[in-house]
C-alpha cells in the first residue's frame, strides 16, 4: 500500500486540549478520584430533601404572589438602611482607597510604602465581608456603623488594587512633562496622573456601589444593619411571600444600579 492510501484510510480525530498524554491522563484520573472521594463524603439526607421539595414549590409559588404589605415598614426601613450604608461606605472607601492606591503603585511609591499598602490590600481581599462584620459587631456593637465600617474596609481592597494597577499602566511621558515644569509632588499627581485615571476611577466607584449594596443585604444576618435582618426573620418564620417580596426588591434595585453603571461607564469611555 502506498502512503497516500494510508493517509486516506485514516479518519480525522480532534486534537486533545492537553497535548501531553501523561499530564492529560494524570489530570483525568486525579479528577475522577477526587470526584468519587467527594461524593462519598458528602452525605445527603435524601428523604429530608424530598420533604423539602414541597416547601421549595411553595417558595417558588410565593414569587408569583409576593407579599409587600404585611411587613412593609420593616422592609422600607431595612432597604433604606442598606442603601445608606452602601452609599456612605462607598464614599468613605474611595477617600481611603486613593492614598492606598497611590502607595500600592510601584511607579510612584518607594518600596516600603508599596509593601505596606499591598499588605493592607491583601488582608482586605482575603477576609470575607461577613467575617469582618462579625468581628466589628463584637467590637462596635450592633447596628449600621459596623456594617458601614465593614463595607468601607472591603471597598479599600477592591478599589486600591484596581487603582494601583491603573496607575502602573499610565503614560509616563505625560507625568514626566508635568515634572519638567518644576511641579511639586502634589501638582505632579494632580495634573500628571489624576486626569489619566479619573474615568476608570469613576467607573470602578459606581461598580463598587453596586457591589456594596448587594453585600449590605447580607450583613444584617450577623447584626450589622440593613435588610438582611428582615430577610432572615422572614425565612425563620417560613413567611416565603415576604421573603419573595424582599428578594424581588433587591433584584430590581441591583438591576437599576447595574444598568446605570453600565450607562455611565459607557459614556466615560
Amino acid at each position: 500500500m502506498s502512503e497516500a492510501s494510508l493517509a486516506l484510510g485514516r479518519t480525522w480525530k480532534r486534537p486533545p486540549i492537553i497535548s501531553n498524554p501523561n499530564l492529560r491522563w494524570a489530570l483525568i484520573i486525579g479528577a475522577l478520584v477526587y470526584l468519587i472521594a467527594a461524593v462519598m463524603t458528602i452525605d445527603v439526607n435524601w428523604s429530608r430533601v424530598y420533604e423539602g421539595l414541597e416547601r421549595g414549590k411553595k417558595f417558588i409559588l410565593a414569587f408569583s404572589n409576593p407579599n409587600f404589605s404585611d411587613r412593609w415598614t420593616d422592609i422600607q426601613e431595612g432597604m433604606l438602611e442598606s442603601i445608606v450604608m452602601a452609599v456612605a461606605s462607598t464614599v468613605a472607601g474611595i477617600i481611603i482607597s486613593i492614598p492606598i492606591g497611590l502607595g500600592a503603585a510601584r511607579n510612584i511609591a518607594p518600596l516600603p510604602v508599596y509593601l505596606i499598602c499591598r499588605g493592607i490590600i491583601a488582608l482586605s481581599r482575603a477576609l470575607h465581608e461577613i467575617i469582618v462584620a462579625i468581628l466589628l459587631v463584637a467590637i462596635f456593637g450592633f447596628g449600621p456603623l459596623a456594617g458601614f465600617l465593614t463595607l468601607s474596609f472591603a471597598t479599600i481592597g477592591f478599589l486600591s488594587k484596581l487603582l494601583a494597577e491603573d496607575i502602573e499602566d499610565t503614560d509616563k511621558s505625560q507625568a514626566e512633562a508635568i515634572k519638567a515644569t518644576g511641579s511639586s509632588w502634589l501638582q505632579w499627581i494632580n495634573f500628571g496622573i489624576q486626569p489619566q485615571i479619573m474615568p476608570r476611577l469613576i467607573g470602578l466607584s459606581i461598580y463598587r456601589l453596586d457591589i456594596n449594596f448587594r453585600e449590605s443585604a447580607i450583613l444584617g444576618l450577623v447584626g450589622a444593619g440593613g435588610i438582611g435582618a428582615t430577610l432572615n426573620t422572614a425565612f425563620d418564620r417560613y413567611e416565603f411571600d415576604t421573603a419573595a417580596a424582599i428578594i424581588i426588591i433587591i433584584i430590581a434595585i441591583v438591576m437599576v444600579l447595574e444598568n446605570t453603571s453600565t450607562f455611565i461607564r459607557g459614556k466615560l469611555q
Binding site: 452525605d43 429530608r48 438602611e81 464614599v91 456593637g141 447596628g143 443585604a217 447580607i218 444593619g225
Partner: protein, 272 residues
C-alpha cells in the same frame, strides 16, 4: 482648558472655564449633601458610647484570642474538606447549568432573540443579585441544614457569574470558523462542538478557576447559616465565646483563601 484674565490684565492658565467650575462645584455640593444625609442615618442608629469603648473591647478580645488553640486543628480537617467539596462540586454543578444558559443568552447562538434570550438574561441577573449566603439561607429552610444545601447555594450563585462571562466570550468568537464547519454540512450540535466550543475553551477554563477561587472564600462562611463547612465551627466557637478557637479558624481560613488564590493565579497563568 481655559485662559483666565486677572484684574490687572495678566493671563493665567486654568484647568476649567467658569461654566465647568460651577458644574463641578454643584456636583460636589450634591454629593456631599447625599453623603451627610447617609452619615446622619448611620450616626442616629449608633450608640456612640460603644464606639468610644471600641479600642478597649478590641484589646480585650485580642488578648483572649491569643494565642490560638493549636490543638483544635484536629477537629477542623473534616470541615475544611467539606468546605473544599462545597466550593469544587458547587462550581462543577454550576457549570453544568451555566453552559446551556450561556448558549441561550449569546446573540449568535440563541434559538430565539426575544423570549428565550431575555429569559436566560433574567436567570443570570437573578442569580447574580442574590448573595450566596441568601441562597444558603433559603436552601437551609427548604432542604434542611448540611453540606448539600451549601453546595446547591454556591452553584446557584455561580450560574449568573459563569454564564455572563461565558456568553460574552461566545459573542466574541470568530464567525469564520463556525461558517467553515457549517459548510461541511455539520448539524447544529456538531457546529457547537467543533466550531464554537474549541474557541471558548480557554475562556471557560479561566472562568471556572476564577469562580472556584471566589467560591472557596464564600464557602468558608456558609456554615454561619447552617450550610456546612468550616463556618459551622466558627459559629459554634463564637456562640460559646471561645476566642482562641475563633482565632485559629480565622487563621486557617486566611491560609485556605491565600492558597486557593495562588492556585487559581498559577492555573490561569498557564492557560493564557
Amino acid at each position: 482648558m481655559a485662559i483666565k484674565q486677572t484684574t490687572d490684565g495678566t493671563k493665567v492658565w486654568a484647568r476649567r472655564n467658569t461654566k465647568e467650575q460651577i458644574t463641578n462645584w454643584i456636583m460636589w455640593l450634591v454629593g456631599t449633601a447625599i453623603f451627610m444625609y447617609c452619615w446622619q442615618g448611620i450616626s442616629s442608629e449608633t450608640d456612640w458610647d460603644f464606639f468610644w469603648d471600641a479600642p478597649e473591647i478590641a484589646a480585650d478580645i485580642g488578648s483572649r484570642a491569643m494565642p490560638p488553640k493549636w490543638g483544635y486543628i484536629t477537629t477542623l480537617w473534616v470541615p475544611l474538606w467539606d468546605t473544599l467539596n462545597i466550593a469544587t462540586m458547587g462550581t462543577v454543578l454550576s457549570l453544568v447549568m451555566a453552559i446551556p444558559i450561556a448558549f441561550l443568552a449569546a446573540r449568535n447562538t440563541t434559538p430565539d432573540k426575544y423570549i428565550i434570550r431575555n429569559l436566560a438574561l433574567l436567570i443570570i441577573v437573578s442569580s447574580r443579585s442574590i448573595n450566596s449566603l441568601i441562597w444558603a439561607l433559603l436552601l437551609v429552610a427548604i432542604i434542611g441544614p448540611g453540606v448539600f444545601a451549601g453546595l446547591v447555594a454556591i452553584s446557584l450563585r455561580s450560574i449568573g457569574f459563569c454564564a455572563k462571562l461565558l456568553y460574552e466570550a461566545i459573542e466574541e468568537i470568530d464567525e469564520k470558523q463556525v461558517e467553515a464547519i457549517t459548510a461541511t454540512g455539520a448539524s447544529r450540535w456538531q457546529v457547537m462542538v467543533f466550531g464554537i466550543l474549541p474557541q471558548i475553551m480557554p475562556a471557560l477554563a479561566g472562568i471556572t478557576v476564577f469562580r472556584w477561587d471566589i467560591n472557596i472564600r464564600e464557602s468558608t462562611v456558609l456554615g454561619l447559616v447552617g450550610a456546612g463547612g468550616i463556618g459551622l465551627q466558627m459559629q459554634g466557637s463564637l456562640n460559646i465565646l471561645a476566642w482562641p478557637q475563633v482565632s485559629l479558624i480565622l487563621l486557617v481560613i486566611l491560609i485556605a483563601v491565600l492558597v486557593s488564590e495562588w492556585v487559581s493565579a498559577k492555573v490561569r497563568g498557564a492557560i493564557i
